[in-house]
């Protein structure tokens, strides 16, 4: 009896095989996907999949299909794909601005429901995902490039956090969502990250670029490094550039007795001098002090500009002050929840910025 069992175990181990195995060469690895809206409620999905080549980098190929839902479109893919689409290695989800206006939560559902999908995929808004993906194909770049660009822009350029699928959903589940998503635009032939798209709950409103986007970077402070360029103290037409590292952030939000929403922000930066076109000698301690003051002013200016934009132009709180109020004073939040838009419009936001220049580089 016992030897029979042993033989059975050996047979099970040796004679087993897979019934529905998935070999790598039977899959098409999807590396980027773009979603667009078609007139009659249909989706157009544009996918980029990688075609492995011998002794070469895999070749990105772009195709497009339609479907009433994304999953249906995914199934329609097999009308021309010889292999099974495999989503686990997807790097980027590009949403068109038009689609995002209808709310992104429902559009992203497919990517969350599928247990194969990874949650650190980059979500980005762009005018036309189609153009971007065809351009990538032309340059033989995969979707990973976009994700790496977003990561670099976040780390070095100070353009805030990379908006991954997980981060987007985490934000949508806050009491007062303050979603900002990376925006990609096509600069000639090159896809380029130029700012944030801002959302009211999950509906796309507009995109902020340039200085305003930088200001948001400062206020959100999830990024490590960013740089600031300002005029020299003595000469207006020459510039001096600092690299900034955030070391401390303190925020406080409350509603005072008069019903005015008050926000106090204090930020501390460490700056090091990266480039100077100024003539004056900066080894002088007084000059350093003056530079620090000018730097404070400059950062404040940038941040103020973004805050003004948020309060006056779009009237949407994309900094998360409302959420901050809910976290610390849930009762006060309940009082103002209904009329938050007007309360935020008249909110009193005070900034306190403290910069220390810690290094001036190898040159004196």
């Amino acid at each position: 009896m016992k030897s029979l069992g042993v033989i059975a175990i050996i047979l099970v181990l040796l004679l087993s095989s897979c019934t529905n195995s998935e070999e790598v060469d039977k899959l098409s690895l999807i590396s980027a996907v773009g979603l667009e809206k078609m007139p009659d409620n249909e989706y157009k999905i544009i996918i980029q999949y990688l075609m492995p080549k011998k002794d070469q980098e895999p070749l990105p190929i772009t195709k497009e299909v339609d479907g009433l839902s994304i999953y249906e479109a995914n199934n329609n893919l097999n009308e021309f794909l010889p292999r099974k689409p495999y989503w686990s290695h997807n790097f980027v989800i590009l949403l068109s601005e038009e689609l995002a206006k209808e709310g992104i939560r429902s559009q992203l559902d497919f990517f969350r429901r599928n247990p194969e999908m990874r949650q650190d995929t980059l979500v980005a808004i762009t005018e036309s995902p189609r153009k971007i993906l065809y351009n990538l194909q032309k340059q033989q770049l995969s979707g990973q490039t976009l994700k790496l660009i977003a990561r670099q822009a976040s780390a070095r350029k100070g353009l805030g956090e990379v908006s991954t699928l997980h981060k987007v959903y985490q934000n949508l589940f806050f009491k007062k969502p303050f979603l900002t998503i990376t925006h990609i635009f096509l600069d000639g032939e090159n896809p380029r990250i130029d700012g944030f798209s801002i959302f009211d709950k999950d509906k796309y409103i507009t995109t902020i670029k340039g200085d305003e986007a930088r200001g948001l970077g400062f206020l959100k402070l999830k990024n490590k490094y960013s740089s600031v360029t300002m005029n020299c103290l003595d000469k207006e037409n020459r510039q001096i550039t600092f690299n900034l590292t955030n070391i401390h952030k303190k925020t406080n939000a409350y509603v005072n007795d008069l019903g005015i929403f008050e926000i106090r922000l204090s930020l501390e930066f460490e700056a090091f001098l990266a480039e100077s076109h100024c003539m004056r000698n900066i080894s002088d301690t007084d000059t350093i002090k003056k530079l620090e003051k000018a730097l404070n002013k400059k950062i404040k200016e940038l941040a103020k500009k973004t805050i003004e934009h948020s309060q006056q132009n779009v009237e949407i709180d994309y900094f998360g002050f409302g959420n901050l109020l809910y976290l610390n004073h849930p009762k006060k939040w309940k009082e103002i929840e209904g009329e938050y838009e007007t309360v935020y419009k008249n909110a009193d936001i005070k900034l306190k910025i403290n910069t220390k220049i810690v290094q001036t580089g190898a040159v004196n």
Binding site: N20, E116, R118, Q119, D120, Y169, Q170, Y326, N328, P330
Partner: protein, 371 residues
């Protein structure tokens, strides 16, 4: 026949796997769904309540160190009522076990092998459970120690590597009042109340001195409680209220962890500990069921009834719920009520009270436990 001996470490590991085998993955989800951000407070409340159950278990052990639950029933309530309680216990065991099996199979299938037929999992688990039960308590206890180490490692790795991902504050505290927290604590209590099952293996604790057994039971419950609290805190801290939206939040947390190139795809570790923990949990529950039925029917050996009873449980499990929505509803909301009003809280309480009142008049039958 000589009774197998269980030492303190093995006892601790049995309680540990008993509870954490399935709860590690499921409990943050069910609790957060009810209690929201205060889910971790629910876990603390649940742990405190579970300690009361632990105390009751010890109180029974203190008075009947040589007997197990079925014999205690008979000694406390007489033959007829005792037998009714005994058969009720078998039914309760089969029902709970079938939920454990359903969880084990459907979650393994859902996450790890979505395209495999669920019947395969049932058959494989069936064979393993039958084998382990046949081998006996001693081997089961020793395997538990090994798997406990695996579970602890998984837990620690997730906690430590999860620290950089923490970014959602666990605020506001008790914004909805204390009531949701208490409601949320029902599910942890029902999980940790399963410690009642070790009343079935009292006779195996031959080497114990009573004080050590007490500390073992209570300390293990506290450790499990800390585990529950920490894992809930981390799920909430990493996912925020997004955890409400996910079927198995801990699994999503493990998927997010990515520290350099070394610590990636920790979901594999989750799979390891899940499958091992669930198998052992099933086996222990099944062992207790078989033992209880054997004692109630006055059989000499329990080996011959292993296969038919296992078949019954697996059939009940296979045809229990149709989809994961029903399963999570059953686990989070029905099972706690069902178990707390029966063998996890109410009946042990009745037993302890009866014992307290008729301490002097307990029948000193020479009925003995035989393995």
């Amino acid at each position: 026949m000589k009774i197998a001996e269980i030492n303190y470490l093995q006892l601790a590991s049995i309680i540990f796997i008993q509870i954490l085998g399935t709860s590690l993955l499921i409990i943050p989800g069910t609790v957060v769904e009810v209690a929201g951000v205060d889910g971790w407070i629910s876990q603390i409340v649940g742990t405190i309540m579970a300690l009361i159950v632990g105390m009751m278990v010890f109180y029974l052990y203190n008075n009947f160190p040589q007997d197990n639950l079925i014999i205690i029933f008979e000694k406390l309530f007489g033959k007829i009522i005792g037998n009714i309680f005994g058969f009720g216990f078998v039914i309760y065991c089969i029902l709970s076990l079938s939920t454990v099996i359903k969880q084990g199979c459907s979650i393994t299938g859902y996450i790890f092998l979505p395209e495999t037929s669920p019947l395969i999992f049932f058959i494989v688990f069936f064979l393993i459970v039958v084998y382990i039960t046949k081998v006996g308590m001693n081997a089961l206890a020793r395997t538990n120690v090994l798997v406990m180490l695996l579970l602890i490692t998984t837990f620690l790795v997730i906690i430590i590597t999860g620290v950089p991902l923490l970014n959602v504050p666990l605020k506001p505290l008790l914004s909805e009042g204390l009531f949701p927290v208490l409601k949320g604590s029902l599910s942890p209590i029902s999980w940790m109340g399963q410690v009642i099952l070790i009343t079935m293996i009292f006779p195996y604790l031959t080497s114990g001195n009573k004080k050590n057994i007490k500390t073992t039971i209570l300390m293990t419950l506290i450790v499990v409680g800390i585990d529950h609290t920490l894992i809930t805190m981390f799920t909430l801290g990493i996912l925020g209220l997004e955890a409400k939206d996910l079927l198995i939040p801990v699994y999503s947390v493990a998927k997010l962890i990515e520290i350099d190139l070394i610590w990636r795809r920790l979901d594999v570790m989750i799979m390891f500990s899940w499958v091992a923990g669930v198998t052992l949990k099933m086996s222990f529950w099944y062992f207790c069921t078989v033992l209880a039925l054997k004692q109630l029917l006055h059989l000499n050996k329990y080996e011959p009834i292993i296969i038919p009873l296992a078949f019954l449980t697996f059939v009940i499990a296979y045809y229990s719920t149709n989809n994961t929505v029903e399963l999570t509803f059953y686990l989070g909301k029905i099972y706690p009520i069902l178990s707390l009003f029966s063998y996890e809280f109410t009946i042990p309480l009745i037993m302890c009270l009866t014992l307290f009142i008729r301490r002097k008049r307990i029948s000193k039958d020479s009925k003995e436990f035989t393995p």
